[in-house]
Structure formats: C-alpha cells, structure tokens
C-alpha cells in the first residue's frame, strides 16, 4: 500500500497489460465474431438487391434446417446413451462390489488417453465396411449389413463410448465424496443397496449429473470428428463444407456457414446460462465434518449380481477391443493388416519407424515397385510434418495461454472490481463454440484490410499458423483461467505480507513466492492444454489450410482408401501406430500431471533422498571395488 513512487515500472506494466488485454479481447474475440453475426444480414438477393433477411428466408425454406435437427437429434440421443453408460461405469467401479473393478476401471478410462479423430479412426479400423471385425460381426448377426458402421447409428455408437471421460472424472469424484455414514444410516433404517442408491446416493449426484448432461448435450451439438468421418449431416461438418465453398456453386455459402455457427452459439449460450444459473444456487455434497470413505456395496441378489458382472464385462470388452486391436495391429506387417488377420509369428515396428518397398501389378500385367512406399508414422513425410506442426502449434499456444492467464490471475487476485471485468473477458470464449471462433477468424482475417493486424491477410499461406495459434490460445483461455485462478486462491495472503515485510518488491514476491506455489497447477494446465491441442481436429479442420495441416488432419487422411497403385499405402498401419503414439503421449502427460506433478516439496525431497541413497549404494560399491 505504501509506495513511494506511483509512476514507476509497475505503472508501466499495468498500462501495457491493459492495452494487451483490450487488444486480445476486442481484436480476437469480439470483432471477428461480431463480423460473422452481421455478415448474415449483408447478403444480396439473386437480382442484386440488398436484403438483410434473405439468408434467414433461405434457411427457413430449404433443407438447411435438417442440419440443425440432425444435430439436436444427436445431442438428445447422446444425453440418454452417454448418461446410461457413464453412470453405469462409475457405479460399477465405485459403488457396487464387482470383481476386477480395478481392471474394469482402467478399461473404462481408456477414452482419456485417446479421443477425437484418433478414437474415431480407431473405431473405423474395427467396424467400417473394410474393418477387421466387420466379417466377424456380420457372421454373428446375419441381419447386419457390412456398411452398418456409417451415419447416425455409427456416430451414436462411437460417441456414446467416447464421451464418458467427463463422467469418469466428475461423477467419480462426486460419488467418492459421499459420506458413507449416510449410506450406513439408511442401511441401518432398513433400506437395501438399490433403495440406498436411489434415495440417498443419487440425489447427492444430481447436481453433477445435471452439469454432465449439459456438457454432453453441447458435445453432441458441436460434434465434429465423428459426423465428418462417419458421414452424418450435422451442423459442424456442414459449416466446414460451406466455408470452403464458393458462391459460384451455391447461394451465399459464407453467410449460411455464419448463420449455422451463430445458431450453434445461441444454443450453447442458452445452455451454459442455464447451467451457471443452476450451479450458482449452490449444492453441497456433504455437511458432515467427519466423512467416512465409501465402501463398496455387495449386490445380495445372486441373479442381479451375475447380471451386473456380465454387463460390466460387456462394457469392458466394448471399451477395450479397439485399444487392444489397435495396439496389436500397430505391430503387424503390411500384409497382415491388409488381410485383417493377426500373424502371431511376425511382429514388426514398420508402422512406426520402418520403410519397405511396395510392389504392385500394373494394368499391363507387369510388376512395378515404389521404393519405400510402405512407411511408418515416423518415416512418412506427411505424418512427420503433421506431428511437427501440431507439436509446435500446440506447445506455443498452450504456453501462451498459461502465461496470459497467470498474468491475468495475478491482477484479478489483487484488484476486485477491474479484475472481475478481466475475468469475464477471458471467460467469454467459453460461450462460443470453437467452430464459431475459427470460422470467424477464417472469414474475417481473410483480407488485407484489418488494420490492427497490420493489414496482413492472416488466412494467407503460412500466416494461417498464426491464426491457428490464436484460435488455440483463445479457446483454451476459459479452462486455463478456471484452473489457475483456483490455485491462486489457495495462496495465503499472509505469505505475500510476509515476503513484503522481509523486503521483497511486488515482482520479486510474484516470482519467488507466488509463482513457485502455483507452478505445479500452471504446468498441469499447460500439459492438459497441450494434450488436447496436439490431437485437436475441429479447429484445424475449420481452417482447412494445407499450410496448417495438423496431426489430426493427417490422421483423417489416413482413413481414405489405400490406392492399389502405391498411393496412401499402409495408411491403416500408420493409423494404428498413430493411435498408439497418441495414447503413449497422453498417458505420459496424464501421469506427469496427476502422478508426479501432484507432489509437494516434502514428497520431492523424500524422493530425492531415496534417489541419492540408491545412487550412493551403487556408487559406493563401485568405489569399493575400484579401490586398491
């Protein structure tokens, strides 16, 4: 409070900060999205007259409505199926006493290490009309068509199992937070395990379930990779198609894309407003101070018990089959993958690092060879390019988002009134579907007339990388802010006072006292952001630029038919290897975040001590032997 100089470095920093955040908020959130909104009303009719409502009339008259209905249908069905599966897997692993729950849980959690394009292409590898399990399934169920894994059914099937990660995270935490004494009390008063579940456990889970339902609904509405790859006409793939179309082919495609993205935004905003209003009412899981840990409930009825076990393991098989199959086939030879038959005598790393010549029969009956055409992920120029691109873009964006949010949080924690404004500005992108942001960037910056980016066309050539980074940063701000702000609030204000009292300046206090405290959370947020962006598909697909071809887009192109004449050869093998690679990267990141990163100083010191002791043991012994 007592500063001798008011117009010092701190003041300059503040001005720079205000200008920067204003630039970010107005230039990269408000203006481009506002432009998208207004572009709907700037179209002309076929006769060339300005008509603000021509696009909306077109929308109401034509079949464009179907895309919205399809998305809504998907969202509604997913809310039902994802909740059923999500609640089942959490209850089966956390509430009921099911044998092998630990292994089951690992299976149910596999969606946390691969999702989006990696997961959908994995499912396609199994179930598409040339999938490895399709013959097996069509034999088992004679009515099943070879092409069953396309369209609405396939999207629902895939997303039902792909979108349970949030249940595994949040519902699991909620159920573990239940005070077991309340369960015991109910049992003591004569309620059976299912009665307890219905009357005592479920009511405490309702707030969490409500949030999960809203999140699932939004996921369904904004679905991108599944409908694109599996062929379902929902809003997002249509926006991407329209954005790449020209008015020579159809009527005002740009304005129609804008209209669809605004419709999506309206749905999202309404849903999130409902959610926040609901959450603001405040729900408390437990009022007791001495919580007892939940003990698993044995299902007493033997028939129900057997059925529950069967159900649990069927789900487990559905979750695990793609993972196991993909891992196995990623180590199989080109021939084995083409024949869709596992060759147990021949294991290879070719899908990762190898290269092999490809020999094929031409139409003239002669054999031709393409050198090194069968290549692995890390020896294929396209794939390596995509990995590099995604790695750099996501690392830069994840780091930028963290830095911006840390600086902002430091300000928010000190300034109540202006801080709130800044907070809402950074949370703003949360209301907007990512596709709206990306589409807006793509259309708004695709000129040389935007003065505040120096009249550069940011959608032109390599500039698009910048645009992708900005989109990544902006869409990751809300999540980063929520996480890092929470950790800022754990800092005891007396620590800051103590540092000041010992003679440290505000900047020294920030760097030496506060930053080390929040650093684990910041690194965790960085890692989670990186993890999400590294395999991100929705945004780069919206930009659809060959200058910003990300890893996910490369993986998507691996689902295209493999040409018999040596084009796209071994794409299936690379696809499997890619999924395995992604699982490893995500697995390591999650382990670092939740395992290693969660350690505090005392645990790190203990670990160091143990390492030293071990080292001293080895080193000491060596010393003994080398001494004369």
């Amino acid at each position: 409070m007592l500063n001798e100089k008011r117009f010092d470095a701190t003041f300059v920093f503040r001005i720079i900060g205000i200008v920067f955040f204003a630039y970010l908020f107005l230039g990269f959130m408000v203006v481009p999205c506002w432009n998208t909104l207004t572009s709907i009303f700037r179209e002309k009719t076929a006769s060339g007259e300005a008509d603000p409502f021509v696009v909306i009339r077109f929308f109401l008259a034509g079949n464009m409505k179907n895309y919205v209905w399809n998305s809504l249908k998907l969202a509604v069905i997913l809310v039902i199926t994802v909740n059923i599966v999500g609640i089942s897997i959490v209850l089966l692993t956390e509430y009921f006493d099911i044998k092998g729950a630990k292994i089951l849980r690992m299976g149910y959690m596999t969606t946390m290490i691969y999702s989006g394009v990696a997961l959908v292409t994995g499912y396609m590898f199994l179930y598409a009309n040339d999938g490895i399990l399709t013959p097996l399934l069509t034999n088992a169920f004679p009515g099943l068509s070879k092409t069953w894994f396309t369209g609405f059914g396939a999207v629902v099937f895939t997303m039902t199992f792909a979108c349970t990660s949030n249940h595994m995270l949040f519902l699991r935490n909620a159920i573990r937070g239940i005070d077991y004494n309340t369960v015991e009390a109910a049992r003591n008063m004569g309620a059976g395990p299912f009665k307890v579940l219905l009357k005592v456990v479920m009511p405490t889970l309702i707030p969490t379930l409500f949030s999960l339902t809203v999140m699932t609904f939004i996921t369904g509405l904004c679905a991108m990779s599944s409908p694109t790859l599996l062929g379902y006409d929902s809003i997002n793939p249509e926006i991407v198609r329209l954005a790449g179309s020209s008015s020579a082919d159809e009527s005002f495609p740009q304005a129609r894309a804008a209209l669809l993205s605004i419709i999506l935004a309206i749905f999202t905003i309404v849903l999130l407003t409902v959610l926040t209003a609901y959450e603001r009412k405040g729900h408390y899981l437990s009022v007791s101070k001495t919580k007892a840990r939940l003990q698993k409930q044995k299902i007493n009825n033997p028939v129900a018990n057997v059925l529950a076990h069967i159900y649990a393991y069927v789900l487990f098989i559905i979750y695990m089959t793609p993972v196991i199959m993909i891992i196995i086939f990623s180590f199989q030879s080109y021939t084995a993958i083409r024949l869709k038959r596992i060759d147990f005598s021949n294991w290879t790393l070719i899908n990762f690092f190898g290269q092999e010549d490809f020999e094929f029969l031409t139409s003239r009956g002669t054999y031709k060879t393409r050198e090194g055409a069968i290549s692995g992920v890390f020896s294929n120029a396209d794939a390596v390019g995509g990995i590099k691109m995604s790695f750099i873009l996501s690392a830069v964006a994840a780091a930028l988002a963290c830095v911006i949010v840390v600086v902002a949080c430091n300000y928010i924690s000190k300034h109540k009134k202006t801080g709130t404004f800044l907070e809402y500005a950074l949370l703003f992108p949360w209301l907007l579907p990512t596709i709206l942001i990306c589409y807006s960037y793509r259309s708004y910056f695709n000129t040389e007339t935007v003065w505040y980016v120096g009249n550069n066309n940011l959608y032109y050539a390599d500039n698009v990388k910048l645009l992708i980074i900005m989109a990544y940063v902006v869409t990751k701000l809300p999540f980063s802010l929520r996480m890092i702000k929470a950790s800022f609030y754990t800092i005891d204000s007396e620590l800051e006072d103590a540092a000041k009292n010992l003679g440290s300046s505000p900047i020294q206090t920030f760097l030496k006292v506060k930053l080390p405290i929040i650093l684990p959370s910041v690194l965790a947020v960085f890692a989670l952001n990186f993890n999400a962006l590294f395999t991100e598909y929705d945004m780069s697909a919206t930009f659809a630029s060959k200058y910003g071809k990300t890893y996910a887009m490369v993986i998507q192109s691996m689902t295209m038919d493999e040409g018999l004449y040596g084009y796209n050869v071994n794409a299936s093998g690379r696809r499997c290897a890619s999924t395995v690679f992604i699982m490893i990267v995500s697995g390591i990141i999650l382990w670092l975040v939740y395992g290693v990163g969660a350690r505090d100083l005392s645990e790190r010191l203990e670990a160091r001590k143990r390492r030293r002791e071990r080292f001293a043991k080895i080193f000491g012994k060596k010393k003994l032997t080398t001494e004369p």
Binding site: L2, E494, A498, A499, N501, S504, D600, S602, L605
Partner: protein, 343 residues
C-alpha cells in the same frame, strides 16, 4: 522505542481505530489484547506498514516511519498462519530476507545457522520442507525468519491460535524464554487473556477501535480501568441491587446507581472471620470439582454467585449446605454505567 500518536484508521466509512496512542518501550513485551474485530491486528498492521493510517503518526526510535514502505521498516513479523513459504526449504525460508538484502552466500549461511541454533533447529531440519515440521518447529522457523534480519522490533500476530491447547501452553513458555534471551522489543497480538497475562510486561486492552486501558497484567486484572476490561479479563461476579443494598446497610458505602463487581477468587467460603471481611450466609447450589480448585455456585440474597476455592483439604461443601461467604469490600470494583457497558 515505538510510539503511536493519535492513529486513526478508516476502511471506507468504517473507522477501525480511533485516536490510538501507545508507547512501547525498548525491550518490552507488549500485548494488544481484545475480542475479535476490536482493532488490535489493525494497529499491528499499521505499525508494520500494511495499513496506512488516515491520520496520526508512527515513530520508531524518534524517527517518523508513518510513510516508510513496508520493506524498509525493519520490523519482523510472525504471522498467525506463520506464512512460511511452502515451496522453499526451512533454510531458504530463513534466508529469504537476507538474499533480498543481497548479502554474500557465506554471510547468509552463517546468519541462518546462527539463528537456527538459537531457536533450536538442527541442520537436518533446515534441509526439510516446511510441511515436514511439527507445529512447534514451524513456529520456531517463523521466529527465526523474523529475527534473522536483526529487526529492531518483532510483531507476533496471534502466533499460538492455530495450535491445540497443550502445545499452546508449551510454546507460550518457549516464546517467553526466547524473548528474554534475545531481549528484543516485542508486540504481541492475542484474544486470549491468559496468554496476555502470563507473557506480557504491559498490556493494551482494545475494544471497538479504542484502547480501554494500558497497564501491567496486575493493573489490568485487579484494577481494571473500565467495566469492559473487568468483564473481558477473567471471570467475575456482578453484584446485584439486593446485595449492594445489604452491603450498604452494613456500611459499605457503594453507590447503588453504579455497577459493582467482585472476582471469583476474592469471594471465600472457607475463610475464618477476621473482622476485615463481610460475612454472609449463603446456600450452596452446586459445586464443580476441578482438582486444583473447586468452583461453587452459591446463593445469597436471591443472587447467584460463583466462588473459587483452592482445593486445600478444607471440607468441601455439598449441594444444599449453608456456607459462610466472606469477602473484603476493598476488592469490589465499581463503574459508573456508560454507553459502552457490555456487562
């Protein structure tokens, strides 16, 4: 040493401190005592510089420090939560202030180890994380950190309030011992009257932003300046009109419009009549047995009074017995009722 002159602190429209005047002498253990929200911590934070007073001055060794920044005041603080930096080892916590002063490494090392020895922290403990230490050890680290920069004064903001009862008493004694050894001027904030009485050379009792009384523990306890102080410190009996009237009949000369109090241990039920005491018959309503002493609830002239007697082997009374209650009228503290009477 430290002088607060007419300090006024305002938070918006609310005046937290009204004309606070305190003079802490060199080497003194001075305590700010009062209920929560009374302004004692605000006063401390004004001394350390976290709060700038609306008016008034703070002098340290005859130098006006009212507008000197926090980091340049050279006042050590031990916080309520200790505020030890969780990401640093014990050693780094203590060395933090020295590093900011840009001392050489050897100098820092020497000073840290020096102070660590004085507060009884081993080399092994210095290498540990703060969270690996017990509450008592953490307190010693906080004190070492506050003292290592050789401040001219040390402020302690309820440093014992986070601890359990047994540890609190133990650390209280350690604190007193250390203060004596270092001989440093100390300002101590607490709401615990027992802590204040046992530790302090002098006490300032705060209430609603005013200082009610400054004095030695004995003065505060036995000669409370205001009705608030006599009620806040220790347990006390208020004498109701019936007893006051009876006493005046016997020539006590108490003003019936005033409030009169007597402490529990100044009432007796086991004392022989020596002529100096007033003696009444009182009925024992109940007794609580504490071992060290016995607390009786007795009834005299329709009023319930509490009495403490040392458990010295005299006959304990049981419920319903009649006891001879006696006390010296000099021990009655009388106050003219005012607006601020919180009786």
């Amino acid at each position: 040493m430290i002088k607060l002159n007419d300090i006024v602190v305002k938070f918006g429209d609310f005046t937290a401190l009204h004309d606070i005047n305190v003079h802490v002498k060199e080497g003194e253990f001075f305590t700010f005592l009062g209920p929560s929200g009374c302004g004692k911590t605000t006063t401390l934070r004004t001394i350390t510089g976290f709060i700038e007073p609306a008016s008034g001055t703070v002098f340290m060794k005859d130098r006006d420090i009212t507008h000197v920044p926090i980091e340049k005041r050279n006042i050590g603080i031990v916080f309520q939560s200790y505020a030890l930096f969780p990401t640093m080892t014990v050693y780094d916590n203590i060395a933090f202030g020295l590093k900011l002063k840009k001392l050489s490494k050897t100098e820092i090392d020497q000073k840290v180890r020096d102070i660590a020895r004085k507060v009884d922290l081993s080399d092994e403990q210095l290498a540990k994380a703060v969270s690996q230490l017990s509450g008592g050890q953490q307190q010693r680290v906080a004190i070492a950190r506050a003292l290592v920069t050789s401040p001219s004064i040390i402020c302690l903001d309820e440093p014992l309030s986070n601890l359990d009862a047994k540890l609190r008493v133990q650390l209280r004694n350690e604190l007193k011992k250390m203060q004596k050894e270092f001989g440093i001027t100390s300002i101590y904030v607490t709401h615990d009257q027992e802590e204040a009485l046992t530790l302090s050379d002098r006490i300032a009792v705060f209430n609603k932003g005013y200082i009610e009384q400054i004095g030695t523990p004995n003065e505060i306890y036995n000669h409370s300046a205001t009705e608030f102080v006599c009620n806040f410190i220790g347990d006390i009996n208020r004498l109701e009109d019936g007893i006051v009237a009876e006493l005046n009949k016997r020539g006590a000369d108490l003003d019936p419009t005033w409030h009169h109090y007597i402490r529990l241990e100044r009432l007796h039920v086991n004392k022989m009549d020596d002529g100096k005491h007033f003696v009444f018959d009182a009925m024992v309503e109940s007794s609580e047995y504490y071992g060290l002493y016995i607390k009786y609830t007795i009834n005299a002239f329709g009023q319930t009074l509490k009495v403490i007697e040392k458990n010295d082997g005299s006959n304990p009374y049981t419920k319903g017995e009649t006891a001879h209650m006696s006390f010296n009228v000099k021990n009655i503290m009388s106050y003219k009722p005012g607006e601020d009477a919180d009786a």
